[in-house]
């Protein structure tokens, strides 16, 4: 099922639901992202987004009970199967990346090397992480949230933004309760099963990122 806001022909009454120009709106959203902290932002075809159940399943090391996790990561986040159903309704989106100078280890971690969720739990409170990847996540979260809001203001009311990496909004998440940051917290790309590497390759982006930089990727599905 596809939805292009404004494209459903009105029946009966004359209404002023405006026609939309998806191409120019997506270009404007990408420019908006670049103006709000993104290092790279481009419109992307939703068919380029790869969902693989294996990605979400390997978020935790074997034997992990998920206690290192947050409500925005497996096993609490929406699963790959559910997300694939949502993704099927979209045709276009905007892919964004943010970057910061970092050590090769942290750059590799940002790109998802290893059993990222469990590894991250141990690394989280280290000084290097707090100085680089944590603020980087917040920049990405801010950009994605702003682009999603701008898309909704333009009439793309089903627009949804996702950010790579586990949620950093709270110092510690209590997955046994409800999210303490409703309307703000977002599941990660990996949590819902998106294979970020393959998605970037499909979109024609250089997966390695710009040199000695830690890069994180966000996706806003728009229409």
């Amino acid at each position: 099922m596809t939805a292009r806001p404004g494209s459903v022909p009105a029946t009966g009454l004359a209404v002023s639901n405006p026609a939309v120009d998806v191409d120019s709106d997506l270009a404007a959203l990408a420019a908006f992202a670049l103006g709000h902290g993104a290092a790279r932002a481009e419109p992307v075809d939703a068919r380029h987004v790869v969902v693989d159940e294996h990605v979400a399943r390997t978020a935790h090391r074997s034997g992990c009970d998920g206690s290192c996790s947050s409500l925005m990561s497996p096993p609490y986040s929406p699963g790959a199967e559910q997300f694939a159903g949502w993704l099927a309704g979209f045709e276009r989106g905007v892919l964004v990346q943010v970057a910061v100078e970092a050590t090769p280890e942290l750059a590799a971690l940002a790109q998802g090397a290893g059993g990222w969720c469990c590894d991250l739990a141990g690394l989280r409170r280290t000084e290097a992480y707090e100085a680089t990847l944590a603020p980087l996540w917040r920049v990405l979260h801010d950009v994605v949230s702003r682009v999603e809001r701008e898309a909704m203001r333009r009439g793309y009311y089903l627009a949804v933004g996702l950010v790579a990496g586990d949620c950093e909004l709270c110092a510690a998440c209590d997955p046994s309760g409800l999210c303490r940051n409703p309307l703000a917290a977002r599941p990660s790309l990996e949590a819902v099963g998106i294979d970020v590497g393959r998605t970037l390759r499909n979109a024609g982006w250089d997966e390695a990122g710009p040199g000695r930089h830690a890069v994180r990727t966000g996706l806003i599905l728009v229409v």
């Binding site: 009966g12 009454l13 909704m152 203001r153 333009r154 409703p182 309307l183 703000a184």
Partner: protein, 292 residues
């Protein structure tokens, strides 16, 4: 489905429940709720369309008399169900997610509801409208440094919500239930009302009055305590117990995956983005009654 409230109010055909709704609307207006009425326009439109059967026209009239600003019978083929609508309940999580019996994950899923919808052919779309007060408009006006995700926690928001949005929600709910009951009275036992936003039926303000109006047993002692100061304006259900008002509590259209925007546009009703772009400072809630 047996409508016990209709029986308590004097049995089918007496119209007493219906009359009570009319009186309730009059009371609400006397309390100062300013309505944007387009009843004459709506009735003229329905008369000219000429393809609605008399029952649906009567239900439109019921909705208008019960407090709806406008109502329109539509074909159920115009109702769009899209699972991405309930995705928006979860990504990012809505402030109502997981705290209300009538919201996800407790409400029927879009997949389940699409199956229900497929059993119907006729529905009634209804809307209640109000004007935003100047202070409310100032409060919700979007700014770069003011997001709804922060705003909804502020005491000023709770106050404004209680003053404008909650009474409007109750107006929609009473009108939708009135239409559902009238449809049941006319023999459409499967009629089902849906509201908007999260269910606020058991909000302490005016609960006893609503129960009396709908012919329900009065709220149990202690079940309708005043909301603690500083708490969010919307209801938080006791999820350890079943819903205390199953006869009248209804999920929102969007909670069951109905794409309200596309459904409204299919019905020929305007909806604009951003929400703050309405020059008349209009705020509205939309409901749907699946009839037959």
């Amino acid at each position: 489905m047996k409508d016990t409230a209709v029986e308590r109010a004097g049995g089918p055909g007496t119209g007493r429940v219906h009359d009570a709704h009319v009186q309730a609307v009059a009371r609400r207006e006397a309390l100062g709720h300013r309505l944007l009425r387009s009843r004459a326009e709506a009735l003229a439109r329905n008369a000219s369309s000429g393809n609605l059967d008399s029952e649906l026209a009567a239900l439109e009239a019921t909705a208008l008399e019960a407090g709806a600003t406008r109502a329109r019978a539509i074909a159920v083929s115009q109702v769009v169900v899209d699972e991405r609508v309930t995705m928006k309940c979860r990504v990012p999580p809505c402030e109502h997610y997981g705290i209300n019996h009538l919201c996800p994950p407790y409400s029927p899923t879009a997949g389940e509801f699409a199956v229900y919808v497929a059993r119907y052919r006729h529905a009634l779309l209804l809307q209640v409208q109000a004007r935003l007060s100047a202070s409310f408009k100032e409060l919700v006006e979007e700014r770069d440094d003011k997001w709804y995700r922060e705003l909804h926690r502020e005491p000023a928001w709770a106050e404004a919500y209680e003053g404008t949005m909650l009474p409007l929600w109750h107006r929609l709910h009473l009108a939708a239930i009135a239409v559902e009951r009238e449809a049941v009275r006319r023999g459409h036992g499967g009629a089902l009302a849906l509201g908007a936003a999260s269910c606020g039926f058991c909000d302490p303000a005016g609960l006893a009055e609503r129960c009396e109006l709908l012919g329900l047993a009065p709220p149990r002692e202690g079940s309708a305590s005043a909301r603690p100061p500083g708490s969010p304006a919307y209801a938080r259900c006791d999820l350890t117990r079943p819903c205390p008002f199953p006869e009248v509590a209804r999920p929102a259209m969007e909670a069951v995956g109905i794409d309200v925007v596309r459904t409204l546009r299919n019905a020929g009703w305007e909806i604009r983005f951003p929400a703050t772009s309405y020059p008349e400072d209009v705020v509205f809630y939309t409901g749907l009654v699946l009839v037959a």
